[in-house]
Symmetry: C2
Subunit: 163 residues, 2 copies
């Protein structure tokens, strides 16, 4: 959790190579089963016995559950973007399952900054987010594409009418 | 929902260009807020008034909620893979927000088939999944990478010891 007076970052405040780390999130068997019952009702996410016989070798969270927990950790972190975390999409890879009892955190790094060519008030930011468990094993990598506002130009010129 | 006797598809049963369509899923404001409260607690996913003032222009589902609903639609569909839907990752793009009252469905197409070089018992399948609303507008595109088992070789040879 961050305090309300954490400064919010604009596109112009970000630098390639900038890093951040979230807090932690403990995942229980009950949470794994509840998410799966709603969004991914497959035996290896719902039932320990069926999961042991599956390709995953034991109860494990839906990849989309790991992704959703990753989002929660990022939203709760001190790395506050000016308009919030507004994602356009991304590339996600699951490298190993999230298991009951795992304690996840996310390590993030800004890897690309591209000012919008058509909209001078915003930019596109790519952030590599590594979700790791308590053994520091890489569980998921998410390359997220975010929309981040630019600071209002500080000159005395009137705002551009091109929007 | 599919019946239990829907045939399950192996890697060898799939063809590039093969298409499938899921059932439908209606998204309520209550579901949008509940998912957001757990995984993406930002004002534009939690509160109508705050959402109207935001870049999204109104209450909208977390992109990860749209992704999770997409997964549920795929798991419930008649397109049944032999070991279930085992995702290694994918590329997701959100093209417009999911709004309260939207009725989503998914249209899928097999776009790539690659037998595993190291494991003759499996293959990698890429499927393009278009999530559309009741106006047939494209809400999300997910290119999913799935692990799909191959049929056991039908020759009389003993199984390879290379696993």
């Amino acid at each position: 959790m961050s305090s309300n007076d954490t400064p919010r970052l604009y596109f112009d405040d970000l630098r390639v190579g900038q890093r951040a780390r979230t807090g932690e999130y403990r995942v229980s068997a009950e949470q794994i089963k509840a998410f799966a019952a709603e969004f991914d009702p497959q035996p290896f996410h719902l039932d320990e016995t069926a999961a042991r016989a599956s390709v995953l070798g034991g109860l494990s969270a839906s990849g989309w559950h790991t992704a959703a927990i990753t989002m929660r950790l990022i939203v709760d972190s001190d790395f506050k973007l000016a308009a919030g975390v507004v994602g356009l999409g991304g590339e996600v890879n699951w490298l190993q399952p999230t298991r009951p009892g795992d304690v996840l955190h996310v390590e993030s790094e800004v890897i690309e900054l591209a000012p919008s060519r058509s909209r001078p008030d915003r930019g596109l930011v790519k952030i590599r987010n590594e979700t790791r468990n308590e053994r520091n094993e890489l569980v998921q990598v998410l390359i997220a594409k975010l929309l981040v506002p630019r600071r209002v130009p500080q000159s005395g010129l009137p705002p551009s009418s091109s929007g």
